[in-house]
């Protein structure tokens, strides 16, 4: 089985994240890049499926040059090879442009199964899996907390507000996963050493048959009009218990409509 895992490098959520004033896109140099957390679960699931059913795991990442760090991490966890979709023309692509570019790369790589995290911690649109499935004409199984494959049938448990749905489709398919699905492994030291020797193919837009007028900031369907820094957090309300602390805490919560 040929599994492709889409991984994204995102700014570390533990550091301060910024937008660039000149084009209102994310300043990817301002913060340390890390693997989008949900994508680590996607890599883990891909590795487990490979261990159970055989095949090959390919990592696909679209991003600037430094996204290779993220690719190496996925390879160190155990993926077999990687494709880095990297072209200055892709900078600033919105979800539609990104899904188009990634789907073109996926067509080029070929796949039985595409796995990705259900959203990224930076843009947080949560739409990429659905858009990819649409563009690839493949069934979408989103928000999966469990994946099973039998022959060409794929069954997932899809989490909902009330529990989960059991969803079945046939391969090839696109699956997005939630953090309940597994516990991602750490790379091993040997895995890190081995990852340095694994092949990473870099694709530009021409290599993946991506039309330049469909991607990039200028061709985005959505536009960031303006942005402002989040206001500093206001000081909290301190309730000193003078016998009526419980009642005053309850009043406060009621005034904020928590109770």
């Amino acid at each position: 089985m040929n599994i492709v895992v889409c991984v994204k490098q995102v700014p570390d959520t533990a550091t301060e994240r910024k937008l660039r004033s000149e084009d209102k896109t994310l300043d990817r140099d301002a913060a340390d890049g890390v693997v989008n957390e949900l994508d680590e679960y996607a890599v883990e699931e891909a590795l487990r499926l490979k261990e159970a059913h055989g095949g090959e795991v390919t990592v696909l990442s679209m991003g600037p040059a430094k996204a290779t760090e993220t690719i190496r991490k996925a390879l160190a966890m155990g993926a077999d090879k990687a494709v880095h979709l990297h072209d200055d023309a892709l900078h600033g692509s919105d979800a539609l442009g990104t899904s188009y570019a990634v789907s073109q790369a996926l067509k080029k790589i070929g796949f039985d199964l595409v796995i990705l995290g259900s959203e990224s911690t930076d843009a947080r649109t949560g739409m990429l899996a659905a858009m990819l499935a649409e563009r690839l004409g493949a069934p979408q199984l989103t928000l999966a907390s469990k994946v099973e494959i039998e022959g060409t049938a794929i069954r997932v448990e899809r989490i909902t507000d009330y529990g989960y749905d059991k969803v079945e489709a046939s391969l090839p398919a696109v699956v997005s996963v939630v953090e309940k699905i597994n516990e991602p492994r750490y790379p091993s030291f040997k895995g890190i050493m081995a990852a340095k020797k694994k092949p990473v193919e870099t694709l530009g837009i021409a290599d993946a048959d991506i039309a330049a007028d469909q991607v990039g900031l200028a061709n985005s369907w959505s536009e960031v009009v303006d942005f402002a820094a989040a206001p500093p957090r206001a000081a909290g309300t301190v309730i000193k218990d003078e016998g009526d602390g419980g009642a005053r805490a309850a009043e406060f919560l009621a005034s904020k409509k928590f109770i």
């Binding site: 750490y186 790379p187 030291f189 890190i192």
Partner: protein
């Protein structure tokens, strides 16, 4: 604070980065709870093993990573800065692999080493006895040759990971005198082997330390490591390396105490300024930092000698002595920096001070280290 390390290459930098990630997520987050509740961290050694951290200084052909001691010890230091008990157990496991790796036959190594170095088999080290600690040659536990192997009878003491480990590097007497001791790779589940209740220790609460009672347990002949009678030289060879592990543990512990103390001293104010800006406290912190740096430099120097194939026994003893005495002083001073708060269990420095004490005692008391050093001087 992240220690800036001079490492021999990119692989070593990657290894330290991996260690920090695992140590931050798996050790630092769990240490307080387990040390307080005195509970064993189930599953943690399996995680460390699959990440490749339990066989670092051993050859790649047996599943190790072929790392020099200079690098392996800095991994131990990083672990110790998050959780001393776990770092000590990793050091002891690595020590317990030493006899087989250095003295085992090719057949013995192929049979057991890969599982040991991958952490699928966790090791303990069993040399001390209730009446034979510093004077290891006085050990009395017997190994009588019999049909198909050796019958072991006697009591061993102070076994880190006792009752939990899968195998023990066991030293027992096959004959009289210092040349009558032999080394065995003893299975933890041998029939006739039982363990005492975990000792109620001052610190290192999460990993049990027990006695072991051997009641005529049979160990197969092919578990004898090295020749009969070679045991003590194997044991002392292992301890030279083990001492470096303890020096690294002590340095990590001291670094953690320094970090906590500095962070607190930058926050806490008295007489209208941060306490770090009072010279009395600032100089105390400076001495602590100097001690930590010196401890690190000393063990790394000894490690480099070992890696270069030079004699390093004296330097290993110096490193163990300097690093553990430094850890005792630095952790004690860290409690001083915290004042009354430092004496409470709310703050980690109280635990660090308790943990430092054992490091002056185990794997050769610091009096024994001075003995080793002075004998080198008298040569």
């Amino acid at each position: 604070m992240t220690v800036e390390r001079l490492l021999p290459g990119q692989d070593a930098r990657d290894l330290i980065e991996l260690t920090r990630e695992i140590a931050d997520k798996e050790l630092a987050r769990r240490a307080d709870e387990h040390e307080r509740a005195e509970t064993y961290p189930e599953g943690l050694f399996a995680t460390l093993g699959s990440a490749g951290l339990l066989g670092l200084p051993y050859p790649e052909e047996y599943g190790g990573s072929g790392q020099p001691y200079e690098v392996y010890l800095q991994v131990i230091e990083e672990l110790a800065a998050r959780w001393a008990a776990v770092a000590v157990a990793v050091s002891v496991h690595t020590l317990a692999c030493f006899p087989l790796a250095a003295y085992g036959t090719a057949e013995q190594r192929e049979r057991w080493l890969p599982d040991m170095l991958a952490g699928r088999l966790i090791g303990g080290y069993s040399l001390s006895e209730p009446q034979a600690g510093s004077d290891a040659a006085a050990l009395a536990c017997k190994a009588e040759k019999t049909e198909g192997g050796y019958r072991i009878t006697g009591t061993k003491a102070w076994i880190t990971h006792g009752g939990r480990a899968d195998f023990y590097a066991l030293f027992a007497r096959t004959g009289p005198g210092p040349r009558g001791v032999s080394c065995f790779l003893a299975p933890g589940a041998a029939e006739g082997l039982t363990f005492g209740r975990p000792e109620e220790k001052m610190g290192l609460h999460a990993i049990p330390t027990t006695t072991a009672h051997w009641d005529g347990a049979l160990i197969e002949a092919d578990r004898l490591v090295g020749a009969e009678g070679q045991g003590l030289s194997i044991a002392f060879g292992a301890l030279d390396s083990g001492r470096l592990g303890i020096a690294a543990c002590a340095t990590g512990l001291a670094q953690a105490a320094l970090d906590e103390a500095v962070a607190y001293a930058k926050e806490r104010e008295t007489f209208g300024k941060k306490i770090i800006d009072h010279q009395g406290l600032g100089f105390l912190l400076a001495d602590m930092a100097a001690g930590v740096d010196a401890a690190r430099a000393t063990y790394i120097d000894a490690a480099r000698r070992r890696d270069a194939g030079l004699p390093y026994s004296r330097q290993a003893s110096v490193a163990k002595l300097v690093a553990t005495d430094t850890a005792m002083r630095v952790t004690t001073d860290a409690v001083q920096v915290f004042g009354g708060y430092g004496y409470t269990r709310e703050f980690r420095v109280e635990r660090y001070m308790r943990e430092a004490k054992i490091m002056q005692i185990f794997e050769g008391t610091n009096q024994i280290q001075r003995l080793v050093i002075s004998r080198h001087l008298a040569r």
